[in-house]
């Protein structure tokens, strides 16, 4: 069920009504019921995976916590009465029991994710190594699988680390796992942030409610006006494209099976990939705005997921601003545990002794960031295109980390860091880099991607771009057809600039006391969505791209 569908509007309205008229104690139960209904719409049989993860994680966390509490409360007495060896044995036994429980929950949570999302890819690649062919199980991806699995893993690991006590109320925990605004494409929740919000009663707040609706409107504008206006340009490069050296000949041959295909040149690829960057960002962040807006109507704040990523000055900065809940999750549960491990500390010390401070500081973290970005790629999908997308990002970040002292030596004497032009250049350079890494995940296959790169750098073929423009009615007609995109981008850029430069980094705060301006903008957004929001044939503008992950 899309957030922008009639069924959802009915569900949302009914939930809101019950949420605020029933006693506040009932609020989590209303949200849980709504979340289950929402999930059942995606396909009743998929709820089994979600239910299994929820039940196993809930009980494992509770039992592991009780086990550790039982030992720690008895420890002072045991220490006094038992011989040291016996005390140590009991401590180890208790620790082992706890690890076993946590391990079992992780095995179930991650086991489902691996089996459903990655098994076809893993087995397929192994079988093909031996020359065979694996048809694949073709299991459909349950809605929100990656998101709720990460929510479950984060929760059980945090309880094991002693960061917080587990939730005792099963229904409230189930709500944390199933909360419908975050089910389509995140943000990935953290229990210590969202959990407590489910435990307190929420009184209806007009300001909060209208803020939520405004966010929904802004998200819908991003998705239905900007993302959908960029879609045709993206579809052109991902549609029926032929890149054989004799493509023109093959397409033109009488009775050719490629008659409906077209050739593509580097200039079109640059434009198309730029459009893809716009579509992906506005679709994903627009969907998140809608999710956050919906949640805010219930008085519940979700985690921040975007911070104007295309203003980033380098790729590390970009990943700190894009899909923040995923980057933060990977940092907390993969990067830091590895970086703070004893083995890692020994490796750093060894490098320091042999090669000096700089190598000891940069090489280990560079290796870790490569691992981290490979995981980012794997998270995005079980195919080589997505994995290589992650690896490319990791390699670029690794090289820039290793070369940073050299860059500083060049920049400092020239005082470049304070120049506005340099700041703009860095953002553009970051956009170009991320666009290039996306080619490999967006091309129909990895071998296509290599050819796309060749075309982008060596064969712009402006003649093909001119042909495409004249096929679509000439330059004036093409520019007119993209007016909604230009207008949408101008609005997005203005809002982003205001947010980036304001103290609170929020347009909401800027508009707080400006009622007339706010109403005018709201009316403009509604008109824009109604009049220029396009719903092209074969393109469902209300579809969330990131739902597939």
């Amino acid at each position: 069920m899309s957030f922008l569908s009639f069924e959802f509007v009915v569900l949302f309205a009914a939930t809101l009504l019950l949420y605020y008229i029933l006693p506040r104690k009932a609020q989590p139960y209303v949200l849980l019921a709504a979340s289950i209904v929402f999930y059942l719409f995606a396909g009743p049989k998929y709820i089994i995976y979600l239910a299994a993860s929820t039940v196993v994680t809930y009980f494992a966390a509770l039992l592991a916590y009780k086990n550790s509490k039982k030992f720690s409360s008895a420890a002072p007495e045991l220490k006094k009465t038992l011989p040291a060896d016996e005390y140590k044995r009991l401590a180890r036994q208790s620790e082992r029991r706890g690890k076993l429980l946590v391990g079992a929950a992780l095995a179930v949570d991650l086991g489902i994710l691996i089996a459903v999302k990655y098994l076809d890819f893993l087995v397929g690649n192994v079988v093909s190594l031996f020359g065979g062919k694996f048809p694949g199980l073709g299991l459909l991806l349950p809605l929100g699988l990656s998101y709720y699995t990460f929510a479950a893993v984060g929760y059980i690991v945090d309880v094991d680390r002693g960061k917080y006590a587990p939730e005792r109320n099963f229904f409230r925990f189930a709500l944390y796992m199933t909360y419908f605004p975050q089910m389509l494409q995140g943000p990935i929740p953290r229990f210590d942030k969202t959990g407590p919000q489910f435990s307190v009663g929420h009184k209806f707040s007009y300001d909060e409610f209208t803020d939520g609706l405004r966010l929904i409107l802004w998200g819908a504008f991003k998705m239905l006006v900007i993302a959908s206006a960029a879609a045709p340009a993206v579809a052109y490069i991902t549609g029926n494209v032929l890149i054989a050296p004799n493509a023109a000949e093959l397409i033109a041959a009488p009775g050719s099976p490629y008659a409906a295909f077209h050739e593509i040149g580097g200039a079109q690829l640059w434009l198309g990939m730029t459009a893809w960057g716009i579509q992906l960002y506005t679709n994903f962040s627009g969907g998140i705005d809608i999710a956050e807006g919906i949640s805010e109507c219930f008085g519940i704040r979700l985690a921040e997921n975007f911070r104007r990523p295309y203003f980033a000055t380098d790729l590390t900065d970009y990943w700190n601003r894009w899909h923040i809940s995923l980057s933060d999750w990977l940092k907390d549960y993969v990067f830091y545990p590895m970086a703070l491990s004893k083995r890692f500390a020994r490796f750093s010390k060894f490098l320091k002794k042999k090669f000096g401070k700089f190598i000891a500081k940069t090489v280990p973290v560079s290796i870790l960031s490569l691992i981290l970005f490979t995981l980012v790629g794997i998270w995005h999908g079980a195919n080589w295109g997505e994995i290589l997308f992650g690896v490319f990002n990791g390699v670029i970040i690794m090289i820039s980390t290793l070369c940073e002292p050299l860059f500083v030596k060049i920049r400092k004497p020239l005082k470049m860091d304070s120049l506005v032009v340099w700041r703009i250049f860095r953002s553009l350079r970051t956009f170009v880099l991320i666009t290039l890494t996306r080619v490999i995940s967006r091309a129909p296959s990895v071998s296509y991607a290599w050819k796309y790169y060749g075309k982008m750098f060596a064969s712009p073929r402006f003649d093909l771009l001119s042909k495409q423009i004249s096929d679509e009615g000439g330059l004036a007609a093409v520019l007119v057809s993209y007016i909604p995109l230009f207008l949408g981008l101008a609005a997005l850029f203005t809002v982003s600039m205001l947010e980036e430069n304001s103290k609170e980094h929020s347009v909401r705060a800027l508009l707080q006391d400006r009622t007339v301006l706010r109403v005018v903008l709201e009316v403009l957004l509604v008109v824009a969505i109604a009049v220029i929001g396009t719903y092209g044939i074969g393109y469902d503008a209300a579809q969330f791209i990131y739902t597939q992950y």
Partner: protein, 77 residues
């Protein structure tokens, strides 16, 4: 040399362009990134003979030199 002075020395070695004496948003303000944190934790562990764990890696413990000094004292106890 106090803990805070030692910490400022370590921090200056990592990034000399920050006023560690007065800065209170080293993490929240994005002045130290995750790579800096890893280096910093290694150095603090060595210098003060402590073990900083993942649970300690919250902004409140690393936003200022004072907060880090408090963390060091807490972990030493």
């Amino acid at each position: 040399m106090t803990e805070k002075e030692q910490i400022i020395e370590i921090l200056t070695d990592i990034n000399p362009d920050i006023d560690y004496e007065n800065e209170t948003a080293l993490i929240d303000g994005g002045l130290l990134d995750s790579f800096d944190i890893v280096t910093l934790v290694g150095e603090l562990n060595d210098a003060f003979d402590i073990t900083i764990t993942v649970v300690d890696l919250v902004p409140e413990n690393f936003n200022s030199a004072d907060a880090m000094a408090a963390l060091v004292l807490r972990l030493r106890d």
